[in-house]
Amino acid sequence: MQADVAVIGAGAAGLAAAVAAKKAGAEEVLIIDREEKLGGILPQCIHTGFGLQYFQENLTGPEYALKFIEEARRLGVKSLTNTMVLRLRPGEITAANSQQGIFTVKARAIVFAAGARERPIGAIGVPGTRPAGIYTAGLAQKLMDNYGLLPGREIVVLGSGDVGLIMARRFAMEGAKVKAVVEIMPYPGGLARNVVQCLEDWGIPLLLSHTVTKIHGKNRVEAVTIAKVDDKLRPIPGTERKISCDALVLSVGLIPEIELLEEAGAQLDPHTGGPIVDENMETSLRGVFAAGNAVCIFDSVDNVSITGETAGKAAALHVQQKLQRPAKPIRIAPGRNVRYVVPQLVSGSRSVKIYVRVSKPLRNAAIMLGDKTVRRAPRLTPPEMVTLTLSKTVLEGLEGEVKLNVEGEEG
């Protein structure tokens, strides 16, 4: 097969990329996904809260996806579902499905938009048994949506990121009792509005500075032991308490799904877990672009779609040999109180939107690029990603590596 632009992953990022590539003049655009339907994780997010910025509408996940899917259809984007991409090299993708077997797609540009996967229990090392009844939130969600099945009657959720919060409410809505949402950090991992709407409104206790220290049960989860943690996040002896439950749902973080890029030799950023990209969302592999949660974990779908658009458009321009690449890129590196910054490389020759995640809650914060203050904010927290536009004037005269620092009072 052949395509001008091949997009891996048909989530919010991939769909936006495909649409943008078409609009920017790419003729053959092919989008590939391993799932049964288009939309990535959106079809399983049946709550509202999508598209507030992008469409100025409060949509459900499936509604948000449908807008893009319809536009992609209208523009003539080709799609393959139930198709797993096995290998990626600049200019070529190897994939498998039932109709075509194992096949290659020659693509002049590739957009990598494979999303993120959920961190499994092994990675957090909770001792105890491994019976039935331990699920990642996304898996639990998918089974509820597709088969109307609930993971348990009495559920403990570990992790208070948005996914964990939304799932806790969903369980409660479907008739299960959510015994607690347990969070190891001293502050919730998800957005403030989700803490109110998903937990407080439903009377679900949120236990901050707590973690699960043991899982009990032979065939099925019977209980978990939780404990308070100290400021080094270590369980404090003597604070253990056992909560009976029949399911433990994990929402302990997402990891960009970058194996294919890694194998292809793309440079990665240890801070994001994703590839290093420039302001065109191009990776270190020429002609290979990346977008969405595959680059870093975004909290709102709108920004995911925007990175998809950037990547799709740049891919189309690359095919037409019209893409302007930063000649001497400025490297924006995370400095004080900053977990990561995306894109990592900017040209300085035009204004550019960047995404910043702080590493702890800060009051009276000032975001500084080098010694220039680029924004002040009364409060910044890790769950709330900061979107900033760096103007040409701010970038003027910068070269090499520049640190992005956030100053402020802790708390």
């Binding site: 391993r34 139930n82 797993m84 096995l86 498998a96 499905n97 039932s98 109709q99 075509q100 077997g101 194992i102 996967r117 959920e118 499994p120 229990i121 092994g122 990675a123 090392g125 001792p127 105890g128 048994t129 491994r130 019976p131 039935a132 990642t136 996304g138 898996l139 998918k142 089974l143 509820m144 597709n146 088969y147 109307g148 099945l149 609930l150 993971p151 348990g152 009657r153 479907e174 008739g175 299960a176 220290t213 043991k214 899982i215 009990h216 032979k218 065939n219 099925r220 799904e257």
Partner: protein, 492 residues
């Protein structure tokens, strides 16, 4: 009622190896296990997966007799049955000059046990070349070229499949309650599904072999569990060890090992803790930390990769009070054979023990052993579509399109492989996992569980909520949403 010649209790590596060995003969053989699938109930699914060379078992013991012999049988067996196996060799590593003496003792013991080609490498440079990530403090190692690594559950599954192909019957979800003995002779076994008559009963019940043996009137030993815990790492770290790396053995175990698995992950463990509950396969904070410390002596810096741990697990060794394998046919009751206390290196020893059981049956004239003319020694593994040459893969997918649908993101397992695993007897999520590796990769089933559950429900003709992780009581998603809501309405 059908009378079996032989009933084997326990479908771990020992029971399945015996079943396969006996399937070479014209016998009516039955293999029984209480669990829903092969190798589900004991040590066979949770161990280090090493085919030991056999240098550290006390000369003259059964362990010393069967381990090197088993080691020599595995390469051919693995080939015949397409079991993932690699002869990697192994190292026992020491960190100071005084301990080189210990290696010499082991070498000497190995010679007595008939272990071939042992060598002490007393050369830091050579060690570093052979194992680039081994601690630079290592001064010498005992090199055992015949050691290897294997997939232990796949080995048991392959042995069981081949035994069945050659006429052995398998009853799962059947618990043996006692051995029936009359006038000093074995008559069969009482089970949860009724009485099964058999002329010879082979007790390979792992941790429960002492209890079974007692019902037959043989009660000179007991078995207690000794727990071993593990961390298993993402394949990204598989390169940290090229072969099993041991410290010097302790009186109760071979010590905490760092080893690649045959599938390419890195495995560290086990520690050794004596416990009392034969069902307690939970991991503990202390145990997991102990394993980490042990491994860090061999591979310094390993504790930095906690994030790449994909799973922890624990296995229970069946430690006999006699401290040695009990492989014995009795005159009273006649027809009863114990294959008990099969602690480490039981995996390695299984094929040799199986031959010994056949010999005992012949020697004691319990049964007449006549070779079958049509014994088929071969078993084909489930085809791994992504590992085939592309033209072959595409031929298969054309014939059976389900092999083109990849449902596991980490190990790239196809729907066709899952269907084939079900055809061969998998009934649960874990059964699929052990047969195909779907769910064993870095995402630990986050992606594939949905598909595996769906395929299981469809192929077995059961509703999704009845699909289990590993048998009754472990239903994955036991409740329908509507039922729950209704239950609440009734309550209020």
């Amino acid at each position: 009622m059908k009378i079996y010649d032989v009933a084997i209790i326990g479908a771990g590596i020992t029971g399945t190896a015996i079943a396969r060995e006996l399937s070479k003969y014209k016998l009516k053989t039955l293999l029984i296990d209480k669990e829903v699938d092969i190798a589900f109930g004991g040590a066979t699914k949770a161990n280090t997966g090493i085919i030991h060379a056999g240098y550290d078992d006390p000369p003259g013991s059964n362990r010393a007799k069967y381990c090197p012999k088993g080691n020599s049988l595995w390469p051919k067996l693995a080939k015949e049955l397409e079991i993932p196996f690699k002869q990697t060799s192994s190292f026992v590593v020491v960190f100071n000059e005084e301990d080189v003496k210990e290696l010499e003792n082991l070498l000497e013991r190995g010679r007595k046990n008939g272990v071939p080609r042992l060598e002490i490498i007393h050369d830091k440079k050579r060690l570093a070349q052979m194992e680039p990530h081994l601690s630079p403090r290592a001064v010498a190692a005992l090199w055992a070229p015949t050691a290897g690594i294997i997939s232990p559950y796949e080995a048991a599954i392959a042995l069981a499949e081949n035994a069945r192909e050659n006429g052995v019957e398998i009853f799962l979800e059947t618990r043996v309650e006692r051995v029936k003995v009359e006038n000093g002779e074995v008559k069969g076994v009482e089970t949860s599904r009724g009485f099964i008559p058999a002329k010879v009963v082979v007790n390979a019940a792992g941790l429960y072999a002492d209890e079974i043996s007692r019902t037959a009137g043989v009660d000179y030993f007991t078995i207690h569990p000794r727990k071993g815990e593990y961390h298993i790492y993402d394949k990204r770290l598989g390169h940290l060890a090229r072969r099993p790396l041991f410290p010097t053995p302790t009186p109760i175990s071979k010590g905490i090992v760092v080893t690649p698995t045959v599938e390419g992950n890195l495995l560290i463990g086990p520690n050794a803790r004596d416990i009392s509950d034969k069902e307690d396969t939970s991991t503990t904070r202390e145990g997991l930390d102990e394993v980490m410390r042990g491994a860090a002596k061999l591979i310094p810096g390993i504790e930095k990769y906690r994030r790449l741990i994909i799973r922890n697990f624990a296995g229970l060794r069946a430690e006999p009070s006699t401290r040695d394998f009990i492989v014995e046919a009795y005159d009273d009751p006649r027809g009863f054979i114990n294959v008990a206390g099969i602690r480490s290196p039981g995996l390695t020893s299984a094929p040799a023990i199986a031959q010994a059981v056949a010999e005992m049956i012949a020697e004691k004239e319990l049964l007449k052993l006549q070779k079958k003319e049509k014994f088929n020694p071969y078993r084909k593994a489930i085809p791994r579509v992504v590992e085939m040459p592309p033209s072959e893969a595409n031929k298969l997918i054309k014939e059976k399109p389900e092999y083109g649908h990849i449902i596991c993101r980490c190990e790239h397992v196809s729907e066709g492989e899952v269907i084939e695993a079900i055809r061969r007897g998998a009934k649960t999520i874990d059964g699929i996992k052990f047969r195909t590796r779907a769910g064993m990769g870095r995402c630990q089933g986050g992606f594939c569980t949905y598909y595996v559950l769906k395929i299981l429900a469809r192929e077995l003709g059961v509703p999704e909520e009845k699909v289990t992780k590993r048998g009754k009581g472990s239903e994955l998603f036991p409740y329908k949403i509507k039922e729950l809501v209704r239950r609440d309405e009734n309550a209020s």
